[in-house]
């Protein structure tokens, strides 16, 4: 056994805008994408591996992701198959607080969680958006998220008619 080797080696990742972050292997393995990458090169190659470039994640978002994975590194993470929808589960209050952020940050976090394949983080962040929209009218949702209404009145009418089929008595 190599006693000099730390039990949880450090790994570096670089954001799309060139900022380098350091974290532990255990934490970063919560990302399915990076885990696959590391498995591909073999565990032995971790220490010699340079910083991992993450072209689709900017530094602000990566900082948030790293905060989350470091907090959860000791928890058993469910697979995406196991997650699907966990509305019946309790949300860790830490996660609730963690997700109190601006919408644009939340969007970037969702995109990053999806790219990095972190199912639990993706579930938490998308669920957060779902809770915001689920009882609102289309107009309220458009207003809330600055979404352009790209329907013409004729198209809207067609969609409403399309929905009629399940409203029939």
């Amino acid at each position: 056994m190599d006693i000099d080797r730390p039990s949880d080696p450090q790994v570096s990742v670089v954001s799309s805008d060139g900022t380098m972050f350091h974290t532990t292997l255990k934490s970063i393995l919560l990302s399915g994408t990076i885990k696959d990458m590391i498995e591909h090169i073999g565990e032995g190659g971790v220490e010699n591996m340079g910083a991992i470039p993450l072209q689709n994640v900017d530094s602000k978002t990566l900082e948030i992701v790293i905060k989350w994975i470091e907090h959860h590194k000791d928890n058993i993470q469910p697979t995406s198959e196991e997650i699907k929808d966990k509305t019946a589960d309790f949300i860790d209050p830490w996660d609730e607080n963690f997700l109190e952020m601006d919408l644009d940050k939340l969007y970037n976090l969702i995109t990053a969680a999806n790219y990095l394949n972190i199912p639990q983080l993706l579930w938490l962040s998308t669920r957060k958006i779902a809770m915001l929209i689920k009882n609102r009218t289309p107009q309220e949702i458009r207003s809330l998220f600055n979404i352009e209404d790209d329907w013409t009145p004729q198209e809207i009418e067609a969609v409403q008619k399309e929905n009629q089929w399940c409203e029939e008595k």
């Binding site: 699907k84 509305t87 919408l103 998308t126 809770m131 809330l144 600055n146 089929w165 399940c166």
Partner: protein, 787 residues
Amino acid sequence: MSQENQRIQKKKFDRDDSALVEIKKKMEVENEFVFNLSIEILVKIIGYIPEHRRKNLSLVSKSFYEAVNKVDENRLWIYRCGLKSDTNIEYGEYDPKLVDYEKFISSDNEECPAVRISSINEAVMSFFKERGKKVKQLKFDGIFEIAKYIEILNLVPNCEALCITKLLNNENNVTISTKVPMLKLKFLCFHPSLTFDYHEEKFLKCIDCPNLEELFSCSSDVSFAQRIVSNIYSQIKNLKLKCYDDEEDYENCSNYKVISCISFGNKNITQITSDQITTFERFNTVMSSRRSIKNIKIDFRNSAPAYECEQVLKILNIIGNNLIKVTLRGEIKGNYLKHILKYIKKCKFLFFDDLNSYRILEISERVEFNNLEILKIESWDAFATDYLKLIKLSDNCLKTFICNTDEDFNETLKSQRNIVEFSVYSLKKIEKDLLANCKPKKLSLNYDETRFPHFNQTMISDIDKSIYIDFIKNQIQLEELKVNWVWNEIFKTIAIKCLNLQKLEIDRGNLSYDNFKLISNLEKLKELHLNEIEGDWKERIKECSNKCLEILKLENIEISNICEQLSPAFPNLKKLNLTDIDLNYKEFFENLKQFKNLVSLIVKYSEDKDSFDIRELNSFEVQNELKEFYLDEILFSTAGYTEYFINAFKNVEKLSISISAFFTSLGQLEVILNPFNNFKYVDIFTDIIDFDDNESNNVCSTDDLLFILMNKNLKFLHICGLYVRDKEKFKEIFAEHFEIAYISSEEILLMNNETFDEFKMLENIRNESWMSLVHKSIEYILDEIQT
């Protein structure tokens, strides 16, 4: 939207408002925010939203539409949790609020009574051997060997609902010698398109389910349905049959428009539903064996009339004489209609719904209806009024006439000439052609004054007014009248001519005090509904008088000093319903005792401008006689203090509360349900225990709720918004004390024997399931029970 839905929507909508404001503020600061989530992620987000709340989302934008459709691809089964890869078992729970195939909602709780399996192995079999008796809902997702699944069915004797997809049998010559008894099975669903009829039929023959109530099948072969109905399940009560002409097109099934709907019934079959008019021919075969069908709904919208009319006539030729209730929708040529009417002339209920027509040029003969009791005309165009010329009513057979001409006008009719024509047709022709010999006692007339917004309103109104007045002054026999857009002259005519009126509903209009005071003429009037009525009558109601009025409903009317105004005018009022009216609560409750005979008070969607501090109730008893109190969406400035509320309403027996800031904890609930209070029927829609917002505080255990058992007076308790952790324990304990002890993820229901009987009675009257009745307001239920 139903009242209950409105209530729920409104309630749910209020929930996140503080969060919304915060977010909007942040967004205003950071204005560069752009919504750019991919469809893939949007699908994930929308997937978390329950399907019945999801449909509206498709109207947000095209990307939302695409995402909703992608989510809906899995509509048959909502994949709410992961398939356990080691056992291929998914657990779920039963939610009767959701219909048909959505009855299955899965969860991670292995104790849940619903199970989905995708293949069979030893683990699956041992699961069913150990816990099969607990399974109440079961879904087979991909059956390849019927025999093995039949083996499982033997292990689930308590199964109430079974859903099956991908039924394939790769075992040749399998014979099942004895049928599997599934005595509790009420619901059976076959997944559309992926089912193969031959195997489906084979499977059905293997099980014996004499208590089946509903079969949801999506076979493309109607003769298959016929065989099911005739040979396999002759005892079935409902058959919901979805037919797709092209199975390959299943994925686009949401684009299918419901072109035709036929429903019919006899003592066994109460309903068959088809999606495609082109299946009429096939239905012919089914129907020929069912001559005692009572109800039919024929929908011609978006169809090719000639072909379909021929098909309909063939069907009516077989079943027409037995029909009691007929609904006609869409575009029917006059000649066909004449034949349709001939076949249905014995019916009691005839509904014309959304009917567009070709002009009928000549009427050589009229079809006489001897038994027609209710005629309802909804959303039809000017030419369609010609249809009435075809109908001859026997003397005084018609009891109720409903005419709602309020929407869906054909573009070609939107010319000035046709407006006049429409107005003339809609009432003058009805009076002349239809009601000459018949004087219905119940009449409902509703039309939309703004239906042609780009034309001269004054002219239309003048024509409408004179026609209205001419029509109503001849209806002196009326006992119940519902009208809209009422002006002074119309009201005056009603008050002077219709002296037998017992119930009057007016929706929108403008009245002066001089005319409104004629209400005193109506000496038999028991019930009055006024909605959005403008005019100076509101300032001087107390100078009017009607001593027989018992029920008053005011909606969306600005009225000040409401008790002082209304109590002298209607001294014998028993029931007061105030909906969407600004009230000063302190003043209102203080003066409520001026109504000496009031037993029922309903206040809905009301916003006190300064909001109401519940502690202000402490100083007085609101109303000694008040027995029923229904509060919906009242804003309180303080949460909690329910004890003040109790003191004020100490004689109330029937209480319904739907408010956010009322309860702060289970302790507050305990105050309401204290055995020393009089509340016997309690219906609470709350978010004390709101699962979505603050889950960790929203969950209680059965032990937390044991205080309920202390209250021996309680006959009915329904709480929405309560998440109880140990559901099985709850059922076990509460079922000992109540006839019904129901619990789902967000609500509990307790009902004693007596109340349950009342609900069962209502179930028959309303033809609605008692569970759906529970989800309506107490107000509705009590109304129904009393009538």
